[in-house]
């Protein structure tokens, strides 16, 4: 067992110190003191004091490193922490070497270990006498040497100041500060040609040749998926291939055409919503629907399609309501601030829930716009970056008057408000819940009578209470029953009697006579009614939004919140303080609204501390052209969306621990150019896509040299292929079959998802949510994936296995891992089989011969014609399958009108079952069924299934 550094013989130490001091020369003393001030104490602060001194009550192993005396005293090991002059006998030194058998390696985390240089400092310091000058002397030394040291050690950064002077004065390596430097537009290293290519050429590995440019078919497929998330139509491919203009000119036209497509906005919105964590539900225990979140999603689509200036886009999302509270568009835009998962149930402490919102919104703003994960400064000053915790709370103060509400916002003429008639299915469900509750009420009333009879108690008083409640004149309308919209005589009477002070054994217990089924059904119905209030928001002119105002107390939030008329006067005006350790109950120093102090130079408008106006002033700072984080962050994202790798490796983290830009000049040139071009996304796409770097092929002529010269794959000598995202995969199948309904926007759609997942009972706080019922009509279901209802607690399994990100964290870039469940979904799943059948049917209709049908399938799926070999292989397969099918019968599948659920009831711990009617299925029109087509077509569907599962379909080159 290794020992931990522990106590000391104080006497021995004191003598030791005296001895060393008396023998050391003055010059050596000064050097040793300098070492302490310059290296040792900052190192202790960085690596040791968090556990060995910061919190007096919780000093690890009893070893206190706040003074030489306490270190000499040691900790639980009862040995001195160091022996002055003798590093090899000093536990402190031995522990940081991590090599000594007796002493546990320190700091404990492997990742935190000291560098060889830092270990040497400790050694030299102990050997040199372990000098520990007092504060005054330390300051004097620091002052005298500051110029010399900063030239050698790195740079100071001016901020609003940390919790300790050591943090405030610490030095930074300049390479870690690249993101805070002003963007200066570099001059491209070559005058002619595309500037991007010039910057890439400037860092080109010597002796490496580039891949040839991609052929036109490859290129149009790449560009079309990149800009609209769909495959090119066969006619579009043909037109481009036949275009007699030069490759560059013809391709520029393709890019222009795609940028004009309304689907461009959908594709870009998907990227943006990945970052902002879009979902149609609120997560956690209840996972209530956010009925009007879709309006924010469509706002994003619209904004991209209109090529809205990015600075404006930023301002609207942070402070739309403060820009123009009368413009519904601006209210809708603030939905961004609501994207994080959030709820307040009766099980949670209100202040904690409020703080969760504030922490979430601050971090989200940081990651999304500033490429800074600000949560690292929530509990302490940032460990690596010049972000003091004070800044974190100053930014939080910007949002201290931001309140959550579903605000009135009339529908705009450019919003898709069709399909609202589906509301009838929700109303049918509502009626059913009411019926269940009325039945249970009747049942309890009857059971109550039996109860009185059994107990031999006179029910007169009870009956009077019932009569009163039935008349509606009962004084018993407790807050609980008044919010209920269902027949609830039993509880009304019971509450009335309780209020009268009748002893509890004189009237029936609650839920009297309930069977386990009754308990279960009652909860399902009651929670179901509550959930419907959120779902019904979809069709109402409200927006998932915020308002400026005082903070009011809510015990729970179980129904959409509206903006109160007394928002400026009622409630608490929050005062933001630094929260010690991030704990909402440990308020420290007060702060005022502010920005990241390291970039205060970009702030032109001071942030007021009035209730309204804080966010707008803050947004002006974010969206200021002089804010280097904002402009670099967005062009870095656009680059990632085209090249499958960002220039700076962590698009959500430009701090010193994030990956440095591979082409910093290029990044700055793009950022500056973006601003010059009016913050235009479309202009940026043109610049990037018309470069040779973008148009290069994915096949390198000399892979060996490529691997040698470009081991990190950042030369752009070859284009990087990518797997389609989950959404593209589904949309591309629908596009190929011709089933895709290209309508833009509107209330969320519900495609068919795996039926078992759709109907699996889903827990929501004490009971179960209704199942997933698809839209009745194929054209409603076959909308683009971005419009599919996104339920945090019930992701579409097909989307999930293909790495659609969970919306709890911001997704800076998509993963594309290959795991076996993908095969199950894509090869076995009903959706793939349905699409394959639809593609076969389309190919049959659009072709005269079998050969043409195969060729058509290839053109629709792969944007090319089959080779002779492929054609023959597919024809043979078709015949084989048809032979297999000839003796099998097909049966049309019937939609389930009702589902039976089994669960364990919370009140009883017993199993119970309940039936749920799936109303929308009554009007269900299935997709094309095997029974609808000939055996010949069905057999072709197997060829089509293979096409959809092939590598060529799922990768874009």
């Amino acid at each position: 067992m290794k020992r931990q550094i522990i106590s000391i013989l104080v006497m021995q130490l004191v003598i030791g110190v005296a001895f060393v001091q008396s023998n050391a020369s003055a010059a050596n003393n000064e050097q040793a003191e300098q070492l302490f001030v310059r290296r040792i104490i900052p190192l202790f602060h960085e690596k040791c004091l968090a556990c060995h001194g910061k919190d007096e009550a919780q000093i690890k192993g009893g070893f206190d490193m706040r003074s030489l005396a306490s270190m000499l005293k040691g900790g639980e090991s009862e040995q001195p922490g160091l022996v002055v002059g003798k590093p090899e006998q000093s536990p402190l030194y031995l522990a940081v070497t991590r090599k000594h058998d007796d002493w546990q390696p320190m700091p404990p985390k492997e990742a935190d270990k000291l560098s060889a240089e830092q270990v040497t400092w400790i050694k030299d310091w102990i050997a040199g006498g372990a000098f520990w000058p007092d504060d005054a002397r330390a300051k004097e030394i620091a002052k005298a040497n500051s110029e010399k040291w900063s030239a050698e050690d790195g740079v100071s950064v001016k901020t609003s100041g940390g919790l300790s002077p050591e943090w405030t004065e610490r030095k930074y390596k300049s390479e870690g500060l690249w993101a805070y430097q002003p963007v200066k537009k570099p001059i491209p290293p070559m005058k002619d040609g595309n500037s991007i290519d010039a910057f890439i050429a400037a860092r080109w590995p010597a002796g490496l040749q580039s891949a040839p440019l991609a052929d036109r078919v490859t290129l149009i497929r790449r560009a079309t998926f990149d800009l609209i998330g769909l495959p090119p139509k066969p006619e579009e491919v043909e037109a481009f291939v036949k275009d007699s203009r030069s490759d560059a000119e013809a391709f520029a036209k393709v890019v222009d055409r795609l940028l004009d497509s309304p689907h461009y906005g959908e594709r870009m919105a998907q990227h943006w919503l990945d970052v902002t964590r879009y979902a149609d539900t609120s997560g956690f225990a209840n996972d209530y629907e956010r009925g009007n979140a879709w309006r924010y999603r469509d706002y994003v689509v619209r904004s991209f399609n209109a090529d809205k200036r990015y600075d404006q886009f930023v301002r609207e999302q942070i402070a739309g309501d403060e820009i123009d509270a009368n413009d519904p568009e601006q209210i809708v835009a603030t939905g961004f601030l609501r994207m994080g998962p959030w709820e307040l149930t009766g099980m949670e402490v209100e202040k904690v829930a409020r703080q969760r919102f504030l922490d979430d919104v601050v971090n989200s703003v940081g990651e999304t716009f500033l490429a800074h994960s600000l949560q690292c400064a929530r509990c302490h000053d940032h460990k690596f970056d010049p972000v003091p915790t004070r800044d974190y709370y100053s930014i939080q103060a910007v949002f201290a008057t931001t309140q959550l509400a579903e605000r009135a916002a009339p529908f705009l003429s450019n919003e898709n408000v069709t399909g609202f008639e589906e509301k009838k299915y929700l109303e049918m469900r509502r009626a059913e819940y009411l019926e269940v509750l009325a039945r249970l009420d009747d049942q309890m009333l009857a059971a109550a009578q039996s109860w009185f009879q059994e107990k031999g108690i006179d029910p007169a008083r009870w009956n009077a209470a019932i009569a009163n409640a039935a008349d509606g004149k009962s004084p018993t309308r407790t807050p609980m029953s008044s919010r209920r919209e269902f027949k609830d005589l039993f509880n009304a009477a019971r509450n009335a009697i309780m209020k009268e002070g009748v002893p509890e054994d004189q009237f029936p217990p609650k839920l009297v006579g309930f069977s386990p089924e009754d308990y279960g059904n009652e909860r399902v119905a009651r929670k179901g009614l509550e959930r419907l209030k959120w779902e019904l928001e979809r069709y109402e002119p409200y927006a998932l939004a915020v308002y400026g105002g005082r903070t009011r107390q809510y015990k729970t939030v179980f129904t959409p919140l509206r903006m109160p008329s007394d928002r400026m006067t009622a409630g608490e005006l929050e005062v933001t303080c630094v929260l010690t350790g991030g704990d909402p109950f440990s308020a420290g120093q007060k702060v005022t609204p502010g920005v990241l102090s390291v970039l205060v130079a970009a702030q032109q408008t001071p942030i007021p501390d009035t209730i309204e106006g804080r966010r707008l002033a803050f947004a002006d700072w974010v969206a200021n052209a002089e804010n280097p984080l904002t402009t670099r962050a967005i062009v870095n994202r656009i680059w990632l969306w085209h090249f499958e790798r960002p220039i700076a490796g962590n698009p959500n983290n430009f701090g010193s621990t994030g990956k440095k830009p591979t082409h910093p000049e290029l990044l700055d040139w793009l950022a500056a150019t973006f601003v010059e071009d009016g913050w235009s996304f479309k202009a940026m796409h043109r610049i990037m896509m018309n470069s040779e770097a973008y148009r290069r092929g994915t096949r390198h002529p000399d892979r060996k040299t490529l691997a040698e010269k470009d081991p990190t794959g950042t030369s752009y000598a070859v284009f990087k292929p990518r797997r389609l995202t989950a959404e593209e995969l589904r949309d591309a199948m629908l596009a190929a079959t011709g089933e895709l309904n290209p309508v833009l926007g509107g209330i969320p759609t519900r495609p068919e998802i795996n039926l078992e997942a759709a109907l699996q009972p889903r827990q929501v706080m004490g009971t179960f949510a209704a199942g997933w019922t698809p839209n009745p009509l194929p054209r409603q279901r076959h909308r683009r994936s971005i419009y599919a209802l996104k339920v945090r607690g019930l992701p579409d399994p097909l989307q999930e296995v293909f790495n659609a990100p969970a919306p709890d964290f911001s997704c800076e870039r998509r993963e594309a891992s290959t795991v076996t469940p993908q095969v199950f979904s894509l090869f076995n799943g009903q959706a793939s089989h349905s699409r394959a059948l639809a593609l076969a049917n389309r190919a049959m209709k659009e072709a005269q011969t079998d050969e043409q049908a195969i060729a058509r399938s290839f053109a629709l799926a792969f944007s090319r014609q089959p080779s002779q070999d492929e054609l023959q292989t597919c024809l043979a397969h078709w015949r084989d399958i048809e032979a297999l099918l000839s003796d099998t019968k097909t049966v049309a599948s019937k939609p389930p009108l009702e589902v039976r659920r089994d669960a364990v009831e919370e009140n009883t711990g017993e199993k119970f079952s309940f039936n749920e009617r799936l109303h929308a299925y009554a009007d269900f029109v299935p997709d094309l069924q095997p029974t609808d087509v000939s055996t010949h077509t069905r057999a072709l569907a197997d060829v089509c299934l293979a096409l959809f599962n092939s590598n060529e379909f799922v990768y874009v080159y």
Partner: protein, 476 residues
């Protein structure tokens, strides 16, 4: 292999895209095959799922994690408080700022409806309705000192399972597989046996989080197809499916020839073959019919009350025997705000015999030493209740006291560690945050939480979030 286990941040994976090898391993992780293991044997050194050395010597090699979702009451199971009988229905006033709406209104102390007795040589306290578990009391190490941060289910659930209250981080099973690899490349290293309905917070409770997808928990669903779309739609015969697979292979072969250097293609092709074989293998693994009748009877399989959880426990033993590293079982809901006598009574009846059988069975097979069993909820419960509506006594959520117990795996069996105050409101002795419990759990598996880190979003992350302390008393 480009991922360094301890310094993955130094890798260049995301710049290159995963190599073919990594892809193949992912398949192994998600359910692999014997053929695959053979294929990989010579590359064992670089396979992230290859069994790895423990950081420190330890007995436990695998874990069966019994999650009692909704949180059992420590006061009505393993932590008796006779004082509550004296206080029964006396009014209780909550102090402090951490008050939720759940705690509003008049509140009363509530005594436990269950009688307690001491069992085994160790004299472990157990409510009398744990009839079967009482017989193996000396195999158990009870821990009464654990505290958590949350009072609501989903966040507490995430904290117990992933260390972080807001979800999205890797589950314990993912960490354990990341640290130890898996000895059976044919099965996922982290298998979850959920209830028909997933727990609050859903699949995020067993996610791989920021770890590679290889380490994700694979739920075997309790009803219907164990894995979604494991088999093709009705009417697609195996012969037809085989032919379709062959066509895909042919199309892919032509394609891969045109795209040399795109390593992902081959991995994706292999994946289809694996999936095809798995369609047969998974039902075999789940088939309990070959177990002898005595064993099934031991677990309570076939008896109405115990059948469901008995099957899960028996399957868990089978999976551990086959080398699965981490099996998590869900049971519940134990969220008995009301009617605790009836609800807890039924729930205990459902799990008592199966859990006791699991301990007994593992022991007689010589597997108990190498298998750590954990039993816990996400928090404890309060000694007081709002007594909403009269006599339907129950208990509310309590993050300050709970009982977790361990069995096997080198735990300190036959001891009760830590204590709560005389009303069971707060842990007072041996008090430790759940992060310390996590660190201890890893330590029992020979893993050092401070070494088991992964670079993500600019910092090295670990299960305990910021590090913790081993609770030595829990280790035998």
């Amino acid at each position: 292999m480009s991922t360094n286990r301890f310094f993955p941040g130094a890798d260049v994976r995301d710049l290159h895209g995963p190599t073919r090898r990594e892809f193949i391993y992912s398949l192994g992780a998600s359910l692999g095959s014997v053929a695959l293991s053979a294929l990989l044997a010579d590359e064992a050194k670089t396979n992230p799922l290859t069994p790895k050395q423990q950081h420190l010597p330890a007995k436990a090699k695998s874990v069966i994690f019994l999650t009692m979702e909704g949180s059992p009451s420590h006061l009505d199971t393993f932590d008796p408080k006779p004082k509550l009988a004296e206080m029964h229905l006396k009014e209780f006033v909550r102090e402090g700022k951490q008050k939720s709406a759940m705690e509003s209104g008049k509140r009363y102390y509530v005594q436990s409806p269950f009688k307690f007795a001491k069992h085994g040589q160790s004299g472990a306290d157990m409510a009398q309705n744990w009839e079967h578990l009482a017989k193996v009391a000396d195999e158990i190490c009870f821990f009464r000192g654990c505290t958590v941060d949350s009072v609501n289910h989903p966040t507490a659930m995430y904290q117990m399972n992933c260390g972080n209250r807001f979800g999205g981080d890797p589950g314990i099973g993912a960490w354990v597989n990341y640290g130890l690899g898996t000895v059976n490349q044919d099965l996922p290293g982290f298998i979850v046996l959920p209830e028909v309905s997933y727990p609050q917070g859903g699949a995020a409770n067993w996610s791989n989080g920021y770890l590679p997808a290889n380490f994700q928990g694979t739920p075997l669903r309790a009803k219907g197809s164990p894995i979604l779309d494991l088999t093709p739609p009705v009417g697609v015969s195996a012969a037809r499916q085989r032919k379709n697979l062959d066509l895909i292979a042919k199309l892919n072969a032509a394609h891969v020839a045109q795209h040399p250097g795109h390593d992902e293609l081959a991995a994706r092709m292999d994946n289809y073959e694996l999936a095809f074989r798995m369609q047969m293998q998974v039902p075999e693994v789940l088939d309990l019919s070959k177990e002898d009748e005595k064993t099934k009877e031991l677990y309570g399989v076939g008896k109405d009350a115990t059948d469901a959880f008995g099957r899960k426990c028996l399957l868990a033993r089978k999976l551990v025997e086959k080398g699965v590293r981490f099996v998590q079982l869900y049971n519940g809901s134990w969220d008995s705000h009301d009617y605790i006598e009836r609800a807890h009574g039924n729930l205990v009846r459902g799990v008592d015999q199966p859990i006791a059988a699991l301990i007994t069975d593992l022991k007689q097979r010589g597997l108990l030493d190498s298998t750590l069993i954990v039993w816990c909820g996400e928090f404890g419960r309060t000694p007081d209740n709002g007594v909403r509506g009269g006599t339907a006594y129950g208990r509310d959520h309590n993050p300050n006291a709970m009982t977790i117990w361990l069995a096997g795996g080198g735990c300190n069996a036959g001891h009760t560690i830590g204590a709560t105050d005389e009303l069971g409101m707060q842990a007072v002795e041996g008090k430790a945050h759940v992060r310390d419990f996590h660190v201890t759990l890893l330590r029992l598996l020979g893993l050092d939480d401070n070494k088991l880190t992964y670079y993500h979003a600019g910092r090295f992350k670990q299960l305990s979030q910021f590090g913790g302390t081993v609770i030595k008393e829990l280790i035998g």
